[in-house]
Symmetry: C2
Subunit: 189 residues, 2 copies
């Protein structure tokens, strides 16, 4: 998606050779109009997959998942990272390592919102080592639903997540794939 | 907003006389199409306010804030609840009590994304005791921006947040106001 690569070139900050900060339109401030375009692009790529549900993780995954779901005409379910007192106890749980935070956390999805008839598209903001997507994929599998693919806004092609998922036969659609990052330059695949 | 009241009547679960669970369309699963309608309603109510930015808190605030911002044609900024290593250190911070979790947490907004020229609409999923909205309002004030109002998807009219905010002269628009909850019934104002 050329508009996304251009946006990353203009607004992305290379924090280190492995950390890309896109706080101005995706991870803290969200460019709402552009996020609608991203949703349309995901919906277009998966339009023949008869998707019934989009699944993501709070918080940065919600915006691209919601806009894709709105175009596809299906609900979104966002996995939760912490246990709230109003949360259902009947949940699927998986443990996920966070690349950004250097910690491990649980993700939880209520059994009420994933069924074996569902055809699920997982959407997330970043695909790095793939821990979040793999955790979500395991939850989808536990529910008996069919995983039709993973959509990432930005894939870090130099980290192993994309290879790992594709190696398991999962269709991965990344709207921009960063091949490497140098001091002032972001090189796309 | 009658469609919202109807949705709450049909799908809301009264957990106790003070806790309402709307996990099926707002707080865990999100009805994407309905969220677009909610965004249009907020945008309509604040259409004459020359809003330049919508501000919310992760995670459940993001969906209604994003759809309102998309209609208004402005960006969203979502305050973060925890400190990630990729987060800017130049931030506005406020402490917020959580009614749902029974805990206190910090919310943070990067100084890069709020300026004194901004006209800000705060949007959140629930307005209960108003702690989250007041925390965001303080951050908006610190930045020198103008707060034009607070939009809540659901206001718990029997808790003090709405009164507190309106008492400070803040315009509050709640799309549904729950007056009280009984075992099997939700009574709206």
């Amino acid at each position: 998606m050329e508009a996304l690569r251009e946006k990353i070139r203009q607004e992305g900050e290379v924090v280190s050779s492995s950390i890309l900060k896109v706080d101005s339109f995706l991870n803290h401030q969200i460019d709402a109009g552009f996020m609608m375009e991203i949703g349309r692009e995901f919906a277009h790529r998966f339009q023949d997959e008869k998707i019934t549900k989009v699944v993501t993780i709070e918080a940065s995954g919600i915006a691209p998942a919601l806009t894709a779901a709105a175009v596809l005409g299906v609900p979104v379910v966002f996995a939760k990272k912490t246990k709230a007192t109003t949360m259902d106890t009947e949940v699927y749980v998986e443990q996920v390592e966070s690349f950004t935070r250097g910690t491990t956390y649980d993700i939880k999805v209520s059994k009420k919102f994933l069924h074996k008839e569902d055809r699920v598209l997982i959407i997330d903001d970043f695909l790095a080592y793939g821990h979040a997507a793999l955790g979500l994929a395991k939850i989808v599998k536990k529910s008996g639903a069919q995983l039709v693919g993973v959509g990432a806004v930005i894939e870090k092609g130099f980290q192993s997540g994309g290879e790992l998922l594709r190696g398991q036969g999962i269709r991965v659609e990344s709207l921009a794939i960063v091949e490497r990052m140098e001091e002032k330059e972001i090189i796309f695949k």
